[in-house]
Symmetry: C2
């Protein structure tokens, strides 16, 4: 090993993902093995991603981590699982220029620093742990020159947070539940990349909520233990839906895609409700968004938009194409205008070109929007939505070679 | 037949009922045959009932009906089914005093007048159609001297509104789904009468709602056609629950009763959510009521209160005994105080002695209530509940012999 002064760093960026066929229920709590396959779409990291810098140095005397600038403990089993699995796969690293040489065996003794941040509000319930664990595992693997491909890495990220395994790829991703007891075959594969179906537009409604939600870990456990519908869903319903969904994605068949996505989101929430005590993730605002979409899809005769909700009240709306997305944002802004003190610029974030296409430039344009004709007595509910994010399907993890993006100082290995 | 001047009348009162194992889904739409058995508790008619007067006279030239004072059409299939079936079972009626003699065959030619009213707000979504059809069939049967017992009458009321069949008895009632294609064995039987478990206290929270609800007829049909969980519930889950519920009722085992009642209500709403398009009957207020009850039951270690929701946001809360009911009303009034302009007298109706036991006499007592210790940061949500009804399990249909209670004029046969 070289002198004690060097710090070796890697910075990576990893997207979030949203399941269109849901994961709900573990058959193994420790290894995080699911009761059914799931399929997700990866969201554009430009709008929703985690950036993580991992550093190693002989000067570090313990593993440490900072999340969004605040130090957090790495002692939890989920972090320890990821660190242990990647360390076990670490290889020799040599950087002659910097005079660094780390032998395979050195990794067991060396400590790492990790700094991670989300480019979106963490409190919004937008699957930050999925992107976070995926990014941690991806970055550590690059730092330690692990030779595993992204599917193999996904099986490690899975042990941090189940849905994290699906964030190792862009486009549409399938998490195969696997059969092996050790979980080695429970991993993610890419179905199609983000270019395959690039006309889709995604609008996320971040819904205001009074209630503290049940964590998905606790909720899932309660559902497995008490819901009499969960096993039927896992064994009888999902396997067929997975096949139909793969077909719909392959053929860019939006009608089938939307029908399956909405039905599966609703069924996941049905299982939550069938849990004892019941779990409610959606609230009245979520219900109203569903009702808007259902009425519009029904009036058009063919689905324009699919909706899906994770373990919280936020709606993820997937529009068939740009035209549908433009109409959608108009309907959404009619029904859910910003509160009087909000400005439009922070109320609709992400890809603002959708707003422009919709002819909405300022708050007066929002006020002048006509009521959606398919909704009788459409009410305007100010303040029920916190903000909207316009985005699209996106690519998988990336290494960021630009050192200025690193979150740790290149000499101290501490947060910048 | 005697002269054209006479009017023969019968007035009856029939209770509403609330299912504790739910009916959701028909296997035959016309005959109203369900996909599973259900069990209900009959509510005290003193607080929730329908009163119906039926009259026959040779001077009537058509069948007519008035509901809550307003004439409505009897041409619908459901009314016609009930009228036809009772007429087919009519017997000879003779009243020598009044000089009335109606031969069996005369009933086919004679017309009836029906006047019906609910002693509770119809718009509240409190199963008025169940009590209404039960009362219509019961009163007509008495008028026409049909010899059928209440179980046989229940199979006729069922053809008006499925759950109406359970309103032909007091106490706890089971609707046996039956097997016969003609529906003849799909009828209600009494499990135990209202005296068997007389310590139970029922509090209904009539919840304010912005949304128009899906009718249960439409909702049920959509669920049967689209929910992939409904058949599993009907075939695998409910048969076991029916047995367990019968056992719990027989043994007055409140713990099992509450667990089954809550789980089955939640599963019914889960099936609604699994329907395409999804049906939401409960709203945020319903969820908050469930959360209050669940937290309290959990903190006590043993259930104090069971909750159940029908096709709407109203909560029906069944307390183990008077002590639990007293605590329940205190907790409910803390969380859901009346709006500033409401007076307590019209905010808590029915059996007001529960309020008295709870030491609540006026609005100042409500304001002084302490927050339920088991709810962290308990919020007070004014206006989310319209009013509460305090009641208990009650008896079945009754004939009202007091002529002053009749809704039709004894000479004209028209509404008083």
């Amino acid at each position: 090993m070289a002198e004690k002064t060097w710090v070796r760093m890697v910075t990576a960026q990893t997207p979030t993902n949203i399941a269109v066929i849901k994961y709900w229920g573990k058959r193994d709590e420790t290894l995080i093995l699911p009761v059914n396959d799931s399929i997700s779409v990866t969201l554009d990291p430009a709008h929703l991603c985690t950036i993580t810098t991992v550093a190693v140095s002989p000067s570090f005397d313990q593993d440490r981590m900072w999340l969004n600038g605040k130090e957090i403990s790495l002692s939890g089993g989920r972090y320890q699982n990821c660190l242990r699995e990647i360390r076990a796969r670490a290889c020799e690293v040599e950087d002659k220029e910097k005079g660094i040489k780390i032998a395979k065996n050195d990794w067991e003794k060396l400590h790492v620093h990790v700094a991670s941040y989300n480019n979106f509000p963490t409190a919004a319930g937008l699957a930050s742990s999925a992107a976070g664990f995926a990014c941690l595992v991806f970055a550590l693997a690059k730092l330690m020159k692990a030779k595993e491909d992204n599917s193999e890495l996904s099986a490690i990220a899975r042990q941090g947070s189940g849905s994290a395994c699906r964030s190792l790829f862009g486009g549409f991703v399938k998490w195969i539940m696997g059969k092996a007891e050790d979980g080695s075959d429970s991993l993610a594969v890419q179905l199609v990349d983000e270019k395959h179906w690039d006309e889709l537009v995604i609008i996320i409604a971040v819904v205001s909520s009074r209630q503290k939600e049940t964590s998905s870990t606790t909720g899932m456990r309660d559902s497995v233990e008490t819901s009499l519908l969960l096993q039927h869903r896992a064994k009888e319903v999902v396997p067929k839906r997975i096949k139909q969904m793969e077909e719909a994605i392959k053929n860019r068949d939006f009608g089938s895609f939307a029908q399956l996505t909405c039905a599966d989101s609703n069924q996941f929430h049905a299982v939550c409700l069938d849990t004892c005590p019941p779990i409610f993730y959606m609230n009245d605002t979520s219900h109203r968004i569903i009702s808007c979409v259902e009425k519009w899809n029904c009036s058009e005769g063919t689905p324009q938009v699919a909706y899906t909700f994770d373990a919280g009240p936020n709606a993820v709306l997937i529009a068939h194409n740009r035209k549908a997305a433009t109409q959608l944002i108009q309907k959404l802004l009619f029904c859910f205008p910003p509160s009087s003190d909000a400005d439009l610029n922070s109320y609709v974030i992400g890809d603002k070109s959708i707003l422009k296409d919709a002819g909405i430039e300022d708050i007066e344009d929002v006020e002048a929007l006509p009521p959606p004709p398919e909704i009788k007595d459409a009410q305007r509910c100010k303040g029920d939505v916190s903000y909207f994010i316009c985005t699209k399907p996106g690519r998988g993890p990336d290494l960021l070679s630009d050192e200025s993006l690193a979150l740790l100082h290149p000499e101290t290995g501490l947060p910048k």
